[in-house]
């Protein structure tokens, strides 16, 4: 076994198999595990995927939402145990791989057209 195959086999133990297919422009809900004292609970975070990074075990998505008039962006390590679930709620039609232009827009201009040719 060569070095790359060995590293892949180590990563394989930590890769999630139940991740949904996510595209840039989708609206998603991410369940984030939060520890409060001794208690652990799952907090949902809803928003639009504005960027993805495909890096095997280091795969991330950047999810943007507007909360109380303030733009919030969170980067989620998809294979992290802290991300308990991801639900795709709506497929979006976009023409860019990175939607950083949404940062300069407010209100109605941040809407993304829905697309129906991809199953949820």
């Amino acid at each position: 076994m060569n070095a790359e195959a060995i590293i892949r086999s180590i990563e394989a133990e930590y890769l999630k198999s139940d991740l949904p297919e996510i595209y840039v422009g989708d609206s998603v809900e991410v369940g984030v595990k939060i520890k409060e004292g001794a208690k652990e609970r799952v907090q949902p975070y809803k928003g639009t995927v504005i960027a993805m990074r495909n890096g095997g075990i280091n795969e991330t998505i950047t999810v943007r939402k507007t909360f109380q008039g303030v733009g919030v962006e969170r980067v989620f390590l998809l294979n992290s145990p802290l991300v308990s679930y991801i639900k795709v709620e709506r497929r979006g039609r976009v023409r860019r791989a990175k939607l950083y232009y949404l940062r300069d827009r407010v209100g109605k201009a941040t809407r993304i057209k829905q697309r129906f040719d991809r199953p949820l």
Binding site: A3, I6, I10, E13, S80, P81
Partner: protein, 214 residues
């Protein structure tokens, strides 16, 4: 002092701590299998140590004296030999195989190896000097600035940081944590970075803690 092991750097990745969920950057190291090729004792050599060999090669890759030395331990032809000083050689015997199981998960180790050679490197890369401004008519971009005073002393002091060969040196990274071991495949997962590129030869020893009793 205790016996360590030779290994090869395979590359880096990350794993997750299942309890806290944090990502841990790890270097994957192929540690062994090593063979004990010589045991030196107080009587025979005046000091105690264990010599181990690593990486099997074809017989034609070694010289006759090297093969003869390995034959004494009835070991197969091995490329690298290294000696580890130890006070207690009673637990070791010639030809014994050492693997990653020498260490436990959670152990603290020192790792030494050759750093990546950068060739003849300038001030910025080798000594982290600041750069001059690139614009506004400046012609001073990567120059060093002053190297000292003038007529007195009339020379540059020894040890002045200058451009030159950088990297390709033996260094030891101390107190690295072993996150996980795979005794079957002789793999160590070590938190953090280690010297060299993938394929580099490494020596892994239990950490030498200053002030700790030996």
């Amino acid at each position: 002092m205790s016996v360590g092991i030779l290994g090869t750097k395979l590359g880096m990745t990350q794993i997750f701590n299942q309890e806290t969920g944090t990502a841990i950057p790890v270097t994957v190291v192929q540690a062994g299998p090593c063979t004990i090729t010589q045991i030196k004792t107080q009587e025979t050599d005046g000091y105690c140590s264990v010599q181990i060999g690593y990486q099997e090669v074809k017989e034609k890759a070694l010289s006759k004296p090297e093969l003869g030395h390995l034959k004494k331990a009835s070991a197969s032809p091995l490329r690298h030999l290294k000696e580890y000083r130890t006070n207690d050689v009673a637990n070791f015997e010639l030809g014994q195989a050492l693997g990653a199981s020498l260490f436990d998960a959670g152990a603290i180790v020192d790792i030494s190896g050759k750093t990546i050679g950068r060739g003849f490197a300038g001030y910025q890369k080798r000594h982290n000097f600041k750069r001059g401004q690139m614009a506004h008519g400046s012609k001073n971009h990567r120059a060093p600035g002053s190297t000292g005073a003038g007529t007195t002393p009339g020379r540059v002091y020894p040890g002045k940081k200058m451009a030159g060969r950088y990297g390709g040196k033996q260094v030891t990274i101390r107190k690295l944590e072993v996150v996980q071991i795979d005794a079957e495949r002789n793999l160590l997962l070590i938190k953090g970075a280690v010297p060299g590129k993938p394929g580099a030869l490494l020596s892994i020893t239990p950490a030498n803690i200053v002030g700790a009793k030996k």
